[in-house]
Assembly symmetry: C2
Homo-oligomer: 344 residues x 2
DNA sequence: TTGTACGCGTTATCAT
DNA sequence: ATGATAACGCGTACAA
């Protein structure tokens, strides 16, 4: 156990601890060589804990996400990590989208980290109050909480993306367009639903109640929603699925029910995936640079930390774009989908 | 800014700091109610930094992985996080499989964390020396370094899995079986190659030099390797790909070259993937519980931390199993793969 | 049960 | 340029 302190080094060299400290801080000292040597021989490492206590900073930035297993959040974390710099590190908190864990994590984070980058699982949250209460710098990424405007954030062009997706379906001639949406309580859920409605409105297509399903961004949720859609008397001819996991679930439902894409139904998803182009047919999606979202969030955090500019929140958005592959086509003349074939 | 200390609470209540400290530690004190009240009114939070300095512990466990973007490592991290408990947190380090970053991270980690769970990018590493030097508890997960036996580890049944995979191909009647392997310098790379050779030996099939390609566990690497295989005068009729990313790359190469699976070539991968069953055809793989690997590693770490049992390293292995889908079939009579059609 | 006082390892201030 | 020392906030041995 390396319990060698700055005092040991000082004794070894025959100077005071202050001199060693100065040397470590880059100041010019007389016997720098002796010190360098002593440090390496004694294998001295400054105590992070002591430094934290003195400085009040930890050099650690937390990033809290609902599910690190979701490739999208993994990309965000990777982006954030890539921008953290040499003198700081990233503390990961995976909340499983469980509210209690989020809150507990936040309180545990206080004092252990200099700031937190967070993708809150819901907007209905007291997080901002919590943050302002403790004065912990925060940057929201991908999602915000109720009065999230008071804090910096890096979101995606959710509404635009959803409009793009829905418009793409419309341009193929579809009108029976369903949406499997995320929870309305989460930023991307709400915004993408808005975009869908906006596009439908522009095209003067009425949104059928049964065609809009508010699900939960999980694979199971997407799976269930798609089954519900297939069980309808007149199923949709196209569906826009609001995130990658739900798309996965929906595709499984479609595959199980032996509904062919895009002949019987057109599918477009939000967020790309490595395998999306290997599926048959390759899936058309709205894509964006999640890694960039993460790195931008980290940059905002670092700026905030050095400027102390918590009072001037910055809001940035990463762009989205359509990646056209093979899962969208015009609707058939005959709208007879074998809806009840296998779908429950 | 919450700069309220234990002293403030003590003054408020009219007792000494020791009493407050005792209250916080769960001891019985006279005016517990007053203290509780004062703490909540003053919004007092004990300083983690000061506690760290006193106790020598941080309550943080690091987990360093090559690539958090790889679903496999994401699952490991998620598993580890799930087992960390209420009084500790996880610090993530993503090294990008870059040796220098690994080493730098390790030195930065010292003093900031109580222990590190690590998936080293290569076995050719001085990490163990580094660890023993500083006495930082470590548990290896998925991979080890040179003298990794001296430290606890949670590996997978790599050799068994590779034998299973190769045997599956052999049982279908293949003999021209190629392997796209990982780097021999990494534990899973080496062990899986061993398993392949073992299975081939058992079946008395000679391993053709050109059929064994040592790649690098990346998508690009798998892609290139598969192209090389396809460009051979007599290409293999089956291929075992040693990890998920390389499988992805190989599938892209196959798809690009319009080689049909399993008619023209059988494919089996190592490590499952959410989308593996949606690809056409669904991909047969060797699977294992990565999340379990992560949680076991964390459990070993926590045990080590409480026991102080660093001297009794434990080595555990998670099992593997074959997930049969549709990417393997008997070889054709005519072995004419359109090898040079589009490959390259 | 409670209070006093010291130590944890650094850095910053103040003299020298 | 250097040395002595206070201070960071907390836990705890010791005395009461």
């Amino acid at each position: 156990m390396s319990t060698v302190t700055i005092t040991d080094v000082a004794k070894r060299v025959g100077v005071s601890v202050a001199t060693i400290s100065r040397y470590l801080s880059g100041f010019t000292v007389r016997n720098a060589e002796d010190i360098r040597e002593a440090i390496s021989e004694l294998n001295y490492r400054p105590s992070a804990a002591a430094r934290n206590l003195k400085s009040g900073r930890t050099g650690i930035i937390a990033i809290v996400v609902p599910d690190i297993t979701n490739p999208f959040f993994a990309a965000i974390v990777e982006g954030a990590e890539s921008a953290v710099g040499d003198d700081r590190m990233v503390l990961l908190v995976n909340t499983g989208a469980i509210r209690e864990r989020e809150e507990k994590a936040l309180s545990q984070l206080f004092g252990r980290v200099d700031g937190v980058i967070m993708a809150p699982s819901t907007e209905e949250q007291h997080a901002p109050a919590f943050f302002s209460q403790f004065g912990l710098p925060i940057v929201f990424v991908d999602r915000v909480t109720q009065d999230g405007e008071r804090f910096s954030s890096v979101l995606a062009e959710n509404a635009k993306g959803a409009e793009l997706a829905t418009g793409h379906l419309i341009s193929h001639g579809h009108s029976k367009i369903a949406m499997i949406s995320g929870p309305n309580s989460a930023t991307p859920g709400k915004k993408r639903a808005d975009g869908y409605r906006q596009a439908m409105k522009k095209a003067k297509i009425e949104v059928i109640h049964d065609f809009f399903i508010e699900s939960d961004f999980t694979e199971a949720g997407g799976n269930l929603a798609m089954k519900q859609l297939l069980a309808l008397d007149t199923p949709p001819t196209a569906v826009f699925v609001a995130n990658n996991l739900m798309t996965l679930g929906a595709l499984h439902a479609l595959s199980e029910a032996e509904v062919s894409i895009p002949q019987e139904i057109s599918v477009i998803g939000f967020d790309d995936h490595d395998f999306a182009d290997l599926i048959n047919p390759p899936i058309t999606v709205i894509s964006r640079d999640a890694r960039l979202q993460g790195s931008q969030a980290m940059e905002l955090m670092i700026k905030q930390l050095s400027d102390g500019s918590a009072s001037h929140p910055e809001h940035s958005m990463v762009d989205v774009h359509l990646v056209e592959r093979g899962s969208c086509a015009p609707p058939r003349e005959s709208q007879k989908i074998r809806s009840n074939k296998k779908a429950r």
